[in-house]
Amino acid sequence: MSAAPILALDRLTRVFRRRGGDPIRAVDGMTWAVTPGESVGYIGANGAGKSTTIKMLTGILRPTSGTVRTGGLDPLRRRRDVARRVGVVFGQRSQLWWDLPLRESFTILGAIHGLPREQVRRRSATLVEQLEMGDTLDMPVRQLSLGQRMRAEIAAALLHAPELLVLDEPTIGLDVLSKQRLREFLRAERAERGTTLLLTTHDMGDVERLCERILVVDHGNLAFDGSFPALAATVGAERVLVVDLAAPTPPLADVPRTRLLAVEGDGLRQRLAFDATATTAAAVLAAVSARAEVRDLTIEEPGIEDVVRRIYSASR
C-alpha cells in the first residue's frame, strides 16, 4: 500500500508583522513531507521557525501562504479530526491538569477523546509501566519533578494512540539519565506501533540517537534534509577537547590529528579541535597527557549554530 505522507508542507510561509519594524518571515516557503513511520528531527537555532511550523501543522496558527496537510487534512478546517490523530508535547507548557492527581488527567483526556473507559485504563497502565511512572499516578501534577512531568506529558499525548507524535523541545532541562530513558521509550514505541515521530530540539544528542532523518531549519528556510551520517559528513564531525593543565604550558600545536583553536591563561587552558571520524577523544587525551599533566577536561559538541554555519559554508 503506497504510503500517503502523514505530513506535507507545500511552500508553507508564515510572516509576522511587527509594529515599527520589518516583517519577520518565521517560515519561508518550506516544502517537505514525512511518510508514516519515519522519525524526523527538526532542528534549528532559537527563532529559526520550529515552533511556528508546529503551530501551523496543528491548526493553532494560520499560514500566510502555502499549505500544510496533517494526516491528509487541513488543520485549520479539520482541527478536531487532526487532534484525534496527532499527539503533541510542548516541552515548556503543560497540557495536564495542574492540581489534580495524574490519574485524573488520563481519565479526563480519555473522556475528551471519546475512548471507552476500559481502553483508557489499559492504555494508561501500559504507558505508565513503560515510562516507569507507577508511583506518580496519585500525585498532583504540580508536585511532579520535571523529568516525571515530561514523561507524564508524553503518556498523555500517546493515550489516544495517535499516528503522529510531535515533540517540541521535550528534553529541555532534563538530566542525562532522564533523557536517555525517554529516548529509549520513544524508540520502543516507534518499533512497536509504527508511530511517526517529529521532534524539534536544539540538543544534537537527541537527534543523533533518535532520528533517522534530519531537517535543519535556518531563518525559516530548510537548510538540510538527510540522514545524520550525511549531516556529519557535510558538516564535519568536529568536536572540541578543552584541557585544563596543571602548569602553564606552551601551545600544544603538534598533537596529531588535532587543530589548536585557542590558548588561555598563559597556556593553562587549551582548546583542541579534532575530527571525530579520524580519531577519538580518548586518543587525543592520551596524546595531550604525554606532553603535559592534565588537571581537568571538557568535551564540546558543535552547537546548532555551528552546524548551520557549516552547512552553508560546505555548500559554497
Binding site: 503551530k55 496543528t58 496558527l61 485549520l76 491538569w97 481519565t107
Partner: protein, 270 residues
C-alpha cells in the same frame, strides 16, 4: 449522535473534575461562599437604601423592585457560575496555555466554559433565591401555569443573555489582550443596567439597554409581565415574552464575535 454523546460525556467529566478540585479546599471554599453571600446582601442593601428615600423608583414599588432584584441576581449568579471564569482568558493567552485547547478534539469555547465552574458564587445566588421567595409572598404571586412559564423563561433567558455578554467580553480579549477594561464597560455596564428598572433611563439609554445590549430582557421586562405591570415608553409590556428571542440573538452575536476572535488569534501570531 454518538459524537455528541461522547462530547457531552467529556464536558461532564471536565466539570466534575473541577468541582472536586474546588471543594477539596474546604476552608477557602467556605470563606469564598461567605464572601459572595455578603456581596449579595450589600447589593440588596443598595435597593433598600434607595427605597428608604422614595416610594417608587422607575415605576416600581419596593415589593416589585425586590422581584426585579431577585430575578436579576439569579440570572447573573448562574451565568457567573457557569461562564464567569472566562475573564481569565487573557492570562491563558499570555501564558500560551490556550494552545493546549487547540490540540484537543473539542470546540474551543466549549472547553473554556467547562474548564471551570465557580461554585463559590453560590453565596450570592442564595441571597437572590431567598429574596425571590420573599418577593413572591409580598407580591402575592401564585404558582399558576402562566407564572411558572414566565419565571422559567426569565431565568433561562436571563442567564443565557448574561452568559452571552461574558462570552462577548471574552471574545474581545483576543483582539485587545490588555484592554479588558473596554469589555468591562460592555459586560458589567450591561449587567448593572439589568439589575435596575429600565424605566429609570432616559429614552436614548433605554434603547441602548433594551435593543442594543438586551439588559432589559434579563429581569425588568419579565418582572413587568409576571406582576402584570403597565408598560412604558419604548418598553411595551408584551416584550417580556420575548426574552428567549433576545437570548438567541445575544448568543448569535457572541458566537460570531468568538469566531472572529479565534480567527484573529490564529492569524496574528498564536
Amino acid at each position: 449522535m454518538a459524537d455528541l454523546r461522547t462530547d457531552l460525556h467529556a464536558y461532564r467529566t471536565l466539570l466534575t473534575a473541577r468541582v472536586r478540585a474546588q471543594t477539596a479546599y474546604r476552608v477557602s471554599f467556605a470563606t469564598d461562599v461567605l464572601g459572595t453571600l455578603l456581596v449579595g446582601l450589600t447589593e440588596l442593601a443598595e435597593v433598600y437604601v434607595i427605597f428608604h428615600n422614595v416610594p417608587r423608583l422607575g415605576g416600581l414599588t419596593l415589593a416589585e423592585a425586590l422581584m426585579l432584584f431577585a430575578l436579576a441576581n439569579i440570572s447573573y449568579s448562574l451565568a457567573d457560575m457557569l461562564v464567569g471564569h472566562l475573564d481569565t482568558l487573557p492570562a491563558f493567552i499570555r501564558a500560551g496555555t490556550v494552545d493546549a485547547f487547540y490540540l484537543r478534539p473539542l470546540p474551543l469555547l466549549a472547553q473554556l466554559i467547562t474548564s471551570d465552574i465557580s461554585l463559590r458564587r453560590f453565596g450570592r445566588l442564595g441571597v437572590g433565591l431567598v429574596t425571590f421567595g420573599i418577593a413572591l409572598r409580598i407580591n402575592e404571586i401564585g404558582w399558576s401555569g402562566r407564572n411558572v412559564v414566565v419565571v422559567g423563561l426569565a431565568v433561562l433567558s436571563g442567564t443565557a443573555i448574561v452568559a452571552a455578554l461574558f462570552v462577548c467580553a471574552s471574545a474581545l480579549q483576543f483582539f485587545l489582550v490588555d484592554a479588558s477594561e473596554l469589555t468591562n464597560g460592555l459586560v458589567y455596564g450591561g449587567a448593572y443596567a439589568s439589575q435596575n428598572s429600565t424605566q429609570v433611563f432616559p429614552n436614548p439609554l433605554r434603547v441602548l439597554f433594551t435593543y442594543v445590549v438586551p439588559a432589559a430582557f434579563v429581569a425588568y421586562l419579565p418582572t413587568v409581565v409576571l406582576l402584570d405591570l403597565p408598560g412604558a415608553t419604548l418598553l411595551p409590556a408584551w416584550l417580556g415574552w420575548c426574552s428567549p428571542l433576545a437570548a438567541a440573538v445575544a448568543w448569535g452575536v457572541a458566537l460570531l464575535l468568538w469566531r472572529a476572535g479565534t480567527r484573529h488569534y490564529q492569524g496574528a501570531g498564536g
